[in-house]
């Protein structure tokens, strides 16, 4: 059996990758994927704990996260398409109308 710490380290690496990608990438779709990466990193730690302590709630929670992520993907992609249609770019540095 793989020890819990391995899962957690992998989960942490995935999450940090997501954070870094979120901060560094300029393409909205890449940022979006980074967010999914962070979510999945967290999911991994949930299931790892669930398996470790034989508690189902962690696995149930993962399902909730996945449902929300799916909904988010649907809405987020729609927004991205709308942004692309009006701005003709997916570079977030150029989508800055809120700036002063």
């Amino acid at each position: 059996m793989v020890p819990l710490s391995y899962y957690l380290v992998l989960s942490g690496i995935l999450f940090v990758c997501g954070v870094l990608g979120f901060l560094i990438k300029r393409n909205i779709i890449a940022i979006f994927m980074s967010i999914e990466l962070m979510l999945n990193g967290v999911n991994l730690s949930f299931v790892a704990f669930a398996a470790q302590w034989h508690a189902l709630s962690g696995q149930v929670f993962v399902f909730f996260v996945m449902v929300v992520a799916a909904a988010e993907a649907a809405v987020g992609l729609a927004i991205i398409i709308a942004v692309y249609r009006t701005r003709e770019t997916l570079n977030v540095d150029q989508v800055n109308l809120l700036k002063l």
Binding site: V19, F22, L23, I24, R26, I31, D93, K99, L100
Partner: protein, 671 residues
């Protein structure tokens, strides 16, 4: 006490009349407005007569609890009404004289654009006055008290387009507010110490307390504060200043509200609170002194006025002073007696003056009248009766009531010869200025404008300008040539009031009136009557004093006759030779100016500099503006964080998350 629903029902017709005319009057015909106003006020009078008829056979006062109002712990105030001999007298005066003046107003106000408004206000006044006199506790009385103040305000400022009328209304309201302040504090004291405002409970509680012979105790304080309220409503020194200005209202209003009924509310209230006053001799003394001073003071001002209504206004103030003098020496029934006869003859005087003003096209200056007895004989006859009455000629009404007061002022245990002397001097002055008015108005030659110059624009500023403005007592549409007699709808009430002024005093013959009111003023009146019967030798003195006061009245008549009929140039000479003194009297002793300097101007200046510029702009506005400025300064710096750059936001989120994690790691996670 027996319950009787009529006490409540009687107040409904005037209220209904006011509501109907107020809401629908604008679109109804004048005939309909007249019918509603007269039927509903007449219904109140009819019910009052009915109540008087059944009350005469009743053994105990009536009461009626309409509804609960305030219930708080053991303290309770209800909408309840009360009828005893005192309220019955007031009830009959208010509805009877009120109804007559309603009839008169039909003629006087017919041409006015605001006819429906006027009738509605008059009915409203009657409703509140009935509430005032029939209240069973001080709070319901206070509703009526404030309500008649409101009606008075509305009617003084009835021609609100005229600036002077609008400010006179405000003045009346504000001065009354000062009095109400005292009244309210008196009520608070009663709540605190007696736990009730009901007349029966309060007076029962008061009767258990000893008489406050030395110093000022609770009862003296309540009495004095009540007197402050009464001085406001009944125009006594130092709050009388609003009443003369109130003459800006239409004449029927002056007759009904500012002579016959509302201004006597203070006397009624003091008489109603007789149980309190009887145990507070100091407060009684103050009431008597204020009354006596006011009587003399106002009468002297009346001498030099030229506006016919102003003379009558000061005369009203002076007569109210007599009533307070009576209450102050403990002769409450004499005060109420004079209140009743005063309602008759002063109502009549005002209505007759209104008839004169109406007949000569809105002129109020007596110097422009004269010789009117030829043109308006009925008005002349009724006015003569009223004049002889107020002067105190026997056997007219005021002769009985005024002499009753003067006799009580002299003989009562609380009285003194000083009150009597001032009273007689006042009677002499009263007689003089009333006959001055009478001679100036009805005798000599007509000095007023005729057809050619009646509408001369140069008279703008005179009270008659309203008439030309079209919303006036008088707008016949034709030029005003000869003075003419008023229509019978106005003369009818004059005649009835003249009859009452003539015979109204006879109810006081052999102290009938006093015996009638005796149950109300239980202890005091009983003592008074006992005192009287035990004083057989007093009869001679009473006759002598009566003779003196009648002589004073005759002297006043003779003096006025000499000055204004036989030697019309003489007053001019006297006025110039008196110089400063005459000027002071003609300018009402500069009291208005004094109040302006003492109270009004400091108040305005203080409000402007301290409250407006200082507190309002400097503190309140400044607090709001400065905090807004501070918020903007902070935001100006903080807004750079909100760059609009998505990745910098993400950076803040990440940094924040890192900070939280660092904190948790540093401090350790505890359950």
């Amino acid at each position: 006490m027996t319950p009787n629903p009529y006490l409540w029902l009687i107040q409904l017709p005037p209220l209904a009349g006011a509501a109907i005319n107020g809401f629908f009057g604008r679109r109804s015909s004048k005939q309909a407005i007249t019918a509603i106003a007269l039927i509903f006020s007449g219904a109140a009078f009819g019910l009052a007569l009915f109540l008087a008829a059944i009350f005469s056979s009743a053994s105990a006062p009536y009461y009626f609890d309409l509804a609960h109002w305030i219930r708080s712990g053991s303290f309770q105030v209800d909408f309840s009404f009360y009828l005893d001999q005192l309220s019955l007298v007031m009830l009959l005066v208010v509805t009877g004289v009120g109804f007559l003046i309603h009839i008169y107003s039909v003629g006087y106000m017919w041409e006015d654009d605001g006819y429906y408004r006027f009738m509605s206000y008059m009915n409203l006044f009657m409703f509140f006055m009935l509430t005032l006199v029939m209240a069973k506790n001080y709070l319901v009385m206070f509703i009526g008290w404030e309500g008649v103040g409101l009606a008075s305000y509305l009617l003084i400022g009835f021609w609100f387009i005229k600036d002077s009328a609008a400010s006179a209304g405000k003045k009346a309201f504000i001065v009354n507010r000062i009095g109400d302040f005292g009244f309210l504090i008196a009520l608070f004291l009663m709540i605190k110490h007696f736990g009730s405002l009901d007349f029966t409970h309060v007076f029962a509680a008061v009767r258990t307390l000893p008489t406050e012979t030395a110093g000022v105790g609770l009862l003296s304080a309540i009495g004095l504060l009540l007197m402050v309220g009464a001085a406001g409503k009944s125009a006594q020194i130092p709050l009388y200043v609003w009443l003369p200005d109130a003459m800006e209202g239409p004449t029927p209003v002056s007759a009904l509200i500012h002579a016959a009924t509302m201004v006597t509310a203070g006397v009624y209230m003091v008489a109603r609170s007789s149980a309190i006053f009887e145990r507070a001799p100091m407060a009684m003394m103050v009431v008597a002194i204020i009354g006596t001073l006011t009587a003399l003071f106002a009468a002297t001002i009346g001498i030099a006025q030229t506006d016919i209504k102003k003379v009558l206004a000061y005369s009203t103030v002076s007569q109210l002073g007599y009533m307070f003098m009576a209450c102050g020496v403990g002769a409450f029934s004499a005060g109420i007696f004079h209140l009743m006869t005063h309602a008759f003859f002063k109502g009549l005087l005002f209505l007759a003056a209104g008839s004169v003003i109406h007949g000569i096209g809105g002129e109020q200056d007596m110097r422009k009248m004269g010789g009117l007895r030829v043109y308006m004989p009925v008005t002349f006859l009724t006015m003569s009766i009223a004049t002889f009455t107020i002067a105190g000629f026997p056997p007219l009404a005021a002769y009985f009531s005024k002499d009753e007061i003067l006799w009580k002022a002299y003989s009562s245990p609380n009285g003194s010869w000083v009150f009597w002397l001032v009273g007689v001097i006042t009677a002499f002055i009263t007689s003089f200025y009333m006959f001055r008015l009478w001679f100036l108005t009805f005798f000599g030659d007509y000095r007023g404008a005729t057809a050619h110059d009646a509408h001369d624009p140069s008279r703008a500023g005179a009270p008659s300008t309203v008439a030309q403005g079209g919303s006036a007592p008088h707008g016949h549409g034709h030029g005003h040539g000869e003075p003419h007699e008023s229509p019978w709808v106005m003369l009818g009430p004059l005649v009835i009031l003249a009859i009452l002024s003539f015979f109204g005093g006879w109810v006081g013959y052999h102290d009938h009136f006093q015996h009638f009111l005796a149950p109300v003023f239980q202890s005091g009146a009983a003592a008074e009557l006992a005192h009287e019967s035990g004083e057989a030798a007093g009869k001679g003195t009473e006759m002598l004093l009566m003779l003196i006061s009648v002589t004073a009245a005759v002297l006043g008549f003779l003096l006025a006759w000499t000055l204004y009929l036989r030697r019309p140039q003489l007053p001019e000479h006297i006025a110039t030779s008196l110089g400063e003194l005459y000027q002071a009297v003609a300018h009402k002793y500069y009291i208005d100016e004094l109040y302006a300097v003492l109270f009004v101007k400091p108040l305005i200046d203080g409000s402007t500099t301290i409250l407006w510029h200082g507190v309002d702009q400097g503190v309140i506005d400044a607090a709001v503006n400065d905090s807004a400025d501070a918020a903007r300064h902070v935001s100006d710096n903080a807004r750079h964080m909100q760059s609009g750059n998505l990745r910098s936001y993400a950076g803040w989120v990440a940094a924040g998350g890192a900070a939280v994690i660092a904190y948790m790691v540093w401090m350790g996670v505890t359950r």
